[in-house]
Symmetry: C2
Subunit: 587 residues, 2 copies
Amino acid sequence: MFARLVSCAVLLSTVLQPVLAVWPAPKSYTKGNSVLYLHQNLQVTYNGEALTYTYGYSPRAPTSKEIVQAAVSRALGTILNEEKFVPWMLLNRGQLKNFEPDVHKGQKWLSSLKIVQTAEDKPSAFKPLAGEVDESYKLTIGTDGDIKLTAASSVGILRGLETFTQLFFMHSSGTFWYTPFAPLSIEDAPKFPHRGVLLDTSRHWFPVSDIKRTIDAMAWNKLNRLHIHVTDSQSWPLEIPAMPELAQKGAYTPSQIYTTADLDEIQRYGVYRGVEVYLEIDMPSHIGSVAESHPELIVAYDAHPYHWYCAQPPCGAFKLNNTGVDKFLDTLFADLMPRVAPYSAYFHTGGDELNANDSMLDEGIRSNRSEVLQPLLQKFVDKLHQRVRNGGLTPLTWEEIPLDWNVTIGKDTVVQTWLGAPSVKKLTRMGHKVIDSNYNFWYLDCGRGQWLNFANGAAFRTFYPFNDWCGPTKSWRLIYSHDPTAGLTEAEAALVLGGEVAVWTETIDPQTLDSIIWPRASAAVEVLWSGRTDPATGQNRSMIEAQPRLVEWRERMVNRGIRAAAITQQWCSMADDNKGTACEHVV
Amino acid sequence: MFARLVSCAVLLSTVLQPVLAVWPAPKSYTKGNSVLYLHQNLQVTYNGEALTYTYGYSPRAPTSKEIVQAAVSRALGTILNEEKFVPWMLLNRGQLKNFEPDVHKGQKWLSSLKIVQTAEDKPSAFKPLAGEVDESYKLTIGTDGDIKLTAASSVGILRGLETFTQLFFMHSSGTFWYTPFAPLSIEDAPKFPHRGVLLDTSRHWFPVSDIKRTIDAMAWNKLNRLHIHVTDSQSWPLEIPAMPELAQKGAYTPSQIYTTADLDEIQRYGVYRGVEVYLEIDMPSHIGSVAESHPELIVAYDAHPYHWYCAQPPCGAFKLNNTGVDKFLDTLFADLMPRVAPYSAYFHTGGDELNANDSMLDEGIRSNRSEVLQPLLQKFVDKLHQRVRNGGLTPLTWEEIPLDWNVTIGKDTVVQTWLGAPSVKKLTRMGHKVIDSNYNFWYLDCGRGQWLNFANGAAFRTFYPFNDWCGPTKSWRLIYSHDPTAGLTEAEAALVLGGEVAVWTETIDPQTLDSIIWPRASAAVEVLWSGRTDPATGQNRSMIEAQPRLVEWRERMVNRGIRAAAITQQWCSMADDNKGTACEHVV
C-alpha cells in the first residue's frame, strides 16, 4: 500500500515532465528541468570567432567554417521559422497549459552558442570512407544560458546542431521558443559509420527537389549516406556528356534527366549536410536501358518470358566477353569518376541478380554454365573495380559477386548484402567489409502488392492474392528490431560498417516518396546510430520507450515539411502523455 | 508465318491508337479516330437554354440548373486549367509526337455541348436512397463538333460530364486540347446504386479541405457515398450545439472539431457533386469518447487489459439499460437529425464489435450473458433506429447487430457487412439490404503493420513480426478481383446495394490520406459501377485490360492534385504504349 502511494505520487509529479525525445537516442545525457528561452539574437561563435548567420544562409564553398555557418543558420531557422513545434498532440487533452512554461513570469534566455571544433577537418571529412570522419560531439546547456557544442570535426558539429533543434518547443502563443531541459549535457557518437538510404531513380524518376528534401530529412536524422541507384534496365536518367545518347535515348523522357549540373548540385547539397551522395550504376545485369542507345552491348533486353532471363521486366545485361563493353565502360568511367570524386569516396558497381541464362543469348558465349561464365565475370569485375580505383574511389558491390559467383574482390571493396544474416556472416568471415540491407527488415518498398499483370486463368490463380515477393510491409517496429551484427563474433561485427534502408521504386514515385521513407528510416537510424542495445540496460531497446520519441520526431518532421506517415492513433500518443503504455498490448 | 505477318501489321497500324481509358468503364461505347479540338468558348445549353459558365462557378442553391452549371464549369476547368494531361508516360519513349495530332493542319473544333435532362429532378435526387436517382446518361460527340449529353437526372448529367473530362488530352505545345475519339457514343449506367468510401475521423482527424478534396476525387470516380465514421472511442470531433461539452471535451484539441458550419459545408459540397455524405455515430460500443464529458453513461472507458473489453484501446460502450443514455440520445438526435436530413437519406448507427464483457462493469447489469444482454440490446437498437426514422432518415447498422446478437431490425434498415461473403449471404437470405465492405478486399488501411506497442519479452515474441490483424495490404489487383455478389442467387444479389472501401485511420492522417485511397478506391469503383464481369466477354474483367486505363486515370488524378500512388513501373506503362502486356507475368 505504501509502495502504491509512493508510485502514485511520483506519477502525479512527473506526469507533465517532458521526455527528452532526441532521435536517434544520444549515447548518454543528463538533463534538468529549468526552462530557457531562445531568441533570434543568440551570440554564436566558432572557435572563438563571432559567427554571423542569417536564415537561408548557404555555404559558398565546402570549407569547415562555411559548412558550420550554414548549419547554424538552418538549425535556428528550423526552430524559429519552420518547425514551430507546439506539442499538444503528445499530451493529454487540455494539458498543454500545464506543460508550457508561464511566459509572463521572468524568462531566462539563452545567451550564447559557443561552437568549438577541436581539430582541423581533413579533406576526407567532406567525402569520408566509413570511419574517416569523427561524428561525435558534446553539447551542454547551462542554466546560465550558455550553450557549448564541441566536436572534432565540422560533421560532428552538424550532428550536434541537429540534436539542438530537437530540444525546443514553440509556446502556443506563437512568440516564444523554449527548452525545458536545462541544465543539459549530451555526449554522443554513432555506433556505425555508414547509415544510408538507397533510392532507385530508374524505375521511377524523382525531381532534384525531392532528392534535396530527402537529404535534408536524412541530415536531421543523422543519416550520412545517400546511395542513388541511378540507372537500371528501366531507364538511364543520368547525363553522360561523353555519351549524350545514353540519357537522350535511355531516360523515360527529356524532362527526367539528371544533368551534370543537377548531379553536382545534389552531391554538393549533401556535403554541406554531412550526407555523402554516391552513385550506383548496376552491372553487368540491370543495365538493359543501355540497349536503347547501344544495343550491341546488351543481351536479353526485354527478353520474354522475362523470368527465364532476369528478376523482372525488362531484362538486359552487358555481354560479359565483349571489347565493345570494355570501351564503353572506359569512356563512361573516364567521364563520370572525375565528376563524382570531389564529393564521394565510393562508387557502387552493382552486381546483383545476374542470370546465367542471359549469356545463352550472347553470340559470343552461348552458355549458362558457371565454369564458362565465372572466369569472364571475374575479369569483368576486376576491370570494373579497377576503373573505380583509378578514379580515386572505393568500389562497392552487391553480395552476389563474391558469394554466388565466387568472384575474388579486393579487400578495399565494400559488399552490400540484401539476402540477410547468413550473407553478412559469410562475408565478414571472409574478411570483407559489409553494409547490410536485409530485405526482410529494411526494404521499405515491400508489402505494396504486385505490380506485374496476371491474365485471367492460370496466372491469376497462381499469383492470387497478388502479394509482392518481399511482403508484408516492414513496419517501424520490425525495422527497429533488426540488428545487422546479430550472431556475429566481435571481429566479424567490426567489419559491418552499417546499413542502408532501400527504396526500390516499382510502385513508388514522387507522390509517395516521403511517406515510404519517413519515419521508417528513422527506426533504422536509431539502430545504426545508437545501437539495437540500450547501454543503460544492456538489453534490446524497447518500442515502449522508443514510440513516444518517434511520435514526437515524426511530428517535428511533418512540421518541417516532410509527409511522414503516422505510426499510431493520435489517442495513443495523447492518452498517457505519450509514454508509450496507453496502447501497449500486455499478454 | 502468314498469321504472324498479319499480326505484325495490325500491331504497326494500331500501335499509336489511343485507348478509350474512361474509368470506370462505361456500359457500352463506339468510337472513331477523328480528332476534335476543345476551346474555351464552347456553346453550352441546358434543356435548350444557353448555360453561361465561368471557371470556379459555385452553385448558389441545390437546384438542378445550378448543379449542372457548376458541374460544366468544373469539367471545362479541369480539362483546360487543372489537369492539362499530356500522355507521354503512356507511350513508348519518344512516341508522343506520333500520338499527337498535327496542330498545324486544319483543326476541327467542338462547337456545342447540348445537355438535355429528360425528367425533372425529384427532391430525393439530392439525397437519394439507393436506387432513387437514375444516374445513367448518354454522351455522343459527332464529327460535326456537336456534343450531346442526355440524362434523366442532374446526377446523370454530372456522371456524364466526368466521363467527358476523361476524353481529352492537352497537346504538348500547351495551347491545344483535343479528343481523338470522334465520332463517339457512350451509354452508361451504374451496376450498384451505393458506391462509397468510409472515412474514420475519430482515430485521426482530417481538415475540411481534405474531406472536400476527397469528395472531388470521389465525384471524378463516380463514387456517390461518403460515409464519415465521425466519432469513436478515440475522439468526438463533432460539434453538437445542444451538448457543446461533447466536442469541447471529446475532441483531441479545439482545432480538431467539425463545427455545424463545417458539417453543412461538407454535406452541401457533396450534394453539388452527386456525393451523398452521411454520418455514423457508432454505438453502443466504440463510443468511449463520450466519457470525457458524460462519464456516467459509459462503461469500460479505457479499461485494461483492453482486449478483455474491446478490440482496441481505448474501450468504452454505452450502458445498455440506462435512462441517462436514452435522454442523451434523445437530445443528440433531436439536435443532429434536422441538420443532416436536408443532405442525406441515411444515418449509420454503428453496432460493430460490442463486447459482452463491458456489461460486467455496468453496475446496472453486471453480466456478460447473451440472455441478459440480447433483450437490452434489442430495446436499445429499436429506440435508436426509431430516432433515425423520426428524423426522416433511414438507419444503417453494422452486421453484428442482426447476425451476432440476433437483434430484429426493420426491413428499411441497411446492413453493412465487413466480415465477408458468408455474412452477405446470410443477410440477403434474411431479406436484408446489404452494403459490402469485405475486410479481406476493401479495407484500405490493412497491411501497414501494428500500431500497438509490445514490451520486450513475451509480448514482443508473440506478436513478432508485428503484422496488423488484416494484412497484407489490399492491392488494387485484389480489390478489383472482389465481387460483392459472388455466390448469391439472383434474388439475394438484388439486395446488395453496393459497397464501400474503408479507411480506418489508426495509422493514417492527412499526410497519407490521398495515397491510401487513390487509386485503390478506383479499382472498387469499377466493380461497383461497371461490374466485375465484362459484358463484352461475359468473363471477369482482366487486369491486363484494366491496368492501362487505371494508369492513365491515376495520372489524370495526380495532375488534378491528388497524391495517388503509382501502381506499376513507369517502364511498364511506356514499353508497350501502356497495353498492359509489357509487364504481364505469363505462367
